[in-house]
Amino acid sequence: MSYFRVNEKCNGCLSCVENCPASALSYTDLDDRRTLRHNMTQCARCGQCWRVCPQEAIEFQHLLVGLWDDVLTLDMVRCRVCGEPLYSTLYQQKMVSEVNTISEPLCPRHRQRQAASKWPLSRPGKTSSKLGDK
């Protein structure tokens, strides 16, 4: 999807190509067809094309507020209690290889609860479960 878009008023005059200071616009003439081309990595979004276009054909707003590109999709590890997404499986594998131990997949809230359940005062048989009670 191109962020550089022109409307139906573009007549292929190439003013934008001639005046682009970043060499981000180009064109090909092939088989009686002219194709206007744009390279986003070279584009400085300076707006010169929009300014010089005699046809007012350049819709610069698409270079100001663009859409998001999906870059990568990975499998996720979720909290085993509530299902909250935690991290990717690849990240988990990296952690395991770094620390040489498998951490139970828990969100911060349930990790805290699990730790609290192991606290001696909260064990069954104790008279009080309130932390800090003497």
Binding site: N19, R45, G47, Q48, R51, V52, F60, Q61, L63, L64
Partner: protein
């Protein structure tokens, strides 16, 4: 790039408290990159300024926006919508952006949220240092690519002052002496002879001493205005 720093909150509040509806406008270029005036910072500042504890009465209402560059009048007029009822803009751009907005939307008050600090560069994450003062008559050819105007505390042109000590400037040990850097770099380049050449006095007129500077690129647009 142009580097800016957020003004003290108290100063911003005293400048905006008389208004009722304010557009907090970030700028998407230099000050976004130096993490002081982009969309994120505009959102953060708006949240802070919305706190009622900062005001004697009800706080102003805030809306947040951001545009790629505030320093181009045609761009802001065409693509930056000013919400109805806005009685002031709080701009997170550099001084050029603030003034461009003020011209574009005259007589709407445009208030700076940043102090524009310097033209600088980033050698490592989170650090920016002044590199250029836009003097209009660059001498980097003769100084090993190290600017004595911007990087010497006294902007000296003929070598270090007596305050240069072991490569540091007398203003602080963490400030390197620009002329020590120049000397040692030229030495590494086998170009110390550049320091022995007699040069004409620097012309400061291109640096702003002859009034505000303009640049006209012939062949683009309608020419000088």
């Amino acid at each position: 790039m142009i580097v800016g720093d957020l003004k003290p909150l108290a100063e911003i509040i005293s400048a905006i408290e008389e208004y009722k509806q304010i557009l907090v406008l970030g700028c998407g270029s230099c000050v976004t990159i130096c993490l002081s005036g982009g969309e994120k910072e505009a959102e953060k500042l708006s949240r802070e300024l919305s706190q009622i504890r900062h005001y004697g009465g009800p706080p102003p209402k805030f809306e947040v926006g951001s545009i790629l560059r505030q320093c181009e009048e045609d761009l802001v007029l065409e693509y930056q919508t000013i919400p109805a009822g806005t009685d002031a803009i709080l701009s997170l751009a550099c001084g050029a952006g603030v003034q461009t907005l003020a011209d574009a939307h005259d007589p709407l008050p445009v208030i700076p949220a940043l102090n524009t600090t310097f033209l600088g560069a980033s050698a490592k994450a989170g650090n920016w240092a002044e590199m250029c003062r836009g003097c209009g008559d660059c001498v980097l050819t003769f100084t090993g690519g190290i600017c004595p105007v911007a990087r010497c505390a006294k902007s000296l042109f003929n070598g270090p002052c007596g305050g240069s000590q072991n490569g540091s400037c007398e203003v602080g040990l963490d400030t390197p002496c620009a002329w020590a850097m120049i000397f040692y770099r030229l030495k590494r380049q086998n170009k110390l002879h550049l320091l022995e050449e007699i040069r004409a006095l620097k012309d400061w007129r291109p640096g702003g001493a002859a009034g505000p500077r303009k640049r006209v690129r012939v062949g683009l647009g309608e020419g000088p205005n």
